[in-house]
């Protein structure tokens, strides 16, 4: 396949890479940028473990042709962690809430869940439980039963608004 130069913003840094535009964004992130926090499950939009933010919105990176991110902003779970570090915490408050609430079991769904949760909280800082459930309706978890995940996201919302200004 013919490669082409793709320039975009990845985790708030400008990047440029020569790659096959038909590669999925998921493959691009994992194999070319070594960002392996984003997971591959079904590879067809059904499980959400590959969720990243594209221009601030949750998308399935397995369904995005790499060529599509030209000129756009991509945020992955690594970028979120980095935001936490920058503010002097170990991780981002959404990640911390998942840890505190026991919302992680095998952890495979976790990066995608957290990205969906983060996208929700950017739009709606005070979500209802119903809105939380809807925001993660495209993310499957085979371990937890979702209850702890829902609680973690509501907890994260509280933590973020309590520390307002900081995040």
């Amino acid at each position: 396949m013919k490669e082409q130069v793709i320039s975009f913003e990845l985790n708030r840094e400008k990047v440029e890479i020569c790659a096959d535009p038909a590669l999925s964004l998921l493959r691009l992130l994992r194999s070319r940028f070594n960002l392996i926090g984003t997971k591959e499950g079904c590879g067809r939009g059904d499980c959400g473990v590959c969720t990243v933010l594209l221009d601030g919105r949750a998308v399935n990176s397995c369904l995005i042709p790499a060529g599509k991110v030209e000129g756009r902003k991509v945020l992955t779970i690594e970028g979120l962690t980095r935001e936490g570090l920058k503010k002097g915490a170990k991780v981002h408050p959404v990640q911390q809430a998942f840890i505190d609430k026991g919302a992680i079991q095998c952890g495979f769904c976790t990066p995608g869940m957290i990205m969906s949760a983060y996208a929700l909280l950017r739009d709606k800082p005070f979500p209802s439980p119903e809105e939380v459930r809807e925001a993660i309706s495209g993310n499957l978890c085979r371990c937890s039963g979702y209850k702890q995940i829902e609680e973690a996201i509501l907890e994260a919302a509280k933590a973020i608004t309590e520390q307002e200004g900081k995040w």
Binding site: P21, G45, G48, G138
Partner: protein, 290 residues
């Protein structure tokens, strides 16, 4: 393969011209990426002519590049074309709705595509542009060549927008689907309706059901039965029966038996028509119809 992202309609048409039939329009890519990709893709998801939702000379104009999430949240669509907002709200998952477009939903031509079913019930017309920059209009239900095959040739045509008549004060629309789960689940049956009242009678009605044929299918017999009168309890029972009998459905090993689907057709047709009538009544009384 080459992939070009452009925000210029002229440039998108040029790329298609120069690719001599090897090019293809792509929007959200949620359907196309899982199929085989053409050698030259032109991403039109940020072309301004395909974006925006606005009133335009008595019509509601909705860009083909509007995503399901945008359509579901749009106050204008919720006010003037509730069936479309309800359909888009139920597509796939938040991730799919954030990037999948209503234009892609129609051109992909899946028989039970949610937005397409709502658009047909609403009487939407598609505005297309060809490589010579000539525009033409076609009713959405005319864009189906076969199962999963559109008449739109995405190597030489771009679907720009959908136009639908703004509803009068006495109108209402609705969409319903029945699926095994609320997210990430294709519908066993979906249904949409648009109804206009005049005095104590239904003056016009479009009822649509899918998947029955390649295109979303009008329930003409059911519509005829409802026209010119006010539906009572007994009418609704007849609606259910008529709708289920006027179409021939197929069963599928993956989804459900033909008998079950037939039953669902009747139930959904009744519910969706009833809801559209209720909204028309509410809108006449000055509510927002929702």
């Amino acid at each position: 393969m080459s992939y070009s992202v452009t925000s210029s309609l002229a440039r998108a048409l040029n790329v298609l011209s120069e690719s001599m039939g090897q090019g293809r329009v792509v929007a959200g890519a949620t359907d196309l990426f899982l199929k085989s990709l053409s050698p030259e893709l032109v991403d039109v998801s940020s072309v301004p002519e395909l974006l925006g939702i606005n009133r335009d000379h008595g019509s509601l104009s909705i860009g083909a590049g509007v995503t399901h999430a945008e359509a579901a949240a749009s106050p204008l669509i919720r006010l003037e074309a509730m069936a479309l907002a309800e359909a888009c709200r139920q597509v796939g998952s938040p991730q799919i709705r954030n990037i999948g477009t209503i234009g892609g939903n129609v051109v992909n031509a899946a028989p039970a595509a949610d937005a397409a079913v709502a658009l047909v019930a609403l009487g939407a017309r598609a505005v297309l542009i060809d490589l010579g920059k000539r525009q033409h209009h076609a009713a959405v239900e005319e864009l189906y060549a076969d199962y999963n095959l559109s008449t739109v040739d995405s190597s030489s045509e771009i679907l720009l927008r959908f136009l639908l008549d703004l509803p009068a004060r006495d109108e209402g629309s609705a969409f319903l689907r029945f699926a095994p789960r609320q997210a990430l689940s294709l519908p066993l049956v979906n249904a949409a309706a648009r109804v206009r009242l005049k005095g104590d009678a239904i003056e016009s009605v479009r009822a649509v059901i899918a998947p029955v044929n390649p295109a979303p299918t009008r329930l003409y017999e059911t519509e005829k039965m409802l026209l010119g009168s006010w539906p009572e309890d007994d009418t609704w029972r007849k609606v259910e029966y008529t709708a289920a009998s006027e179409v021939e459905v197929r069963g599928s090993l993956l989804r459900c038996s033909a008998g079950y689907r037939q039953h669902l057709v009747g139930v959904l047709a009744r519910r969706v028509l009833k809801k559209a009538v209720e909204r028309a009544v509410k809108s006449r009384m000055g509510g927002d119809g929702s």
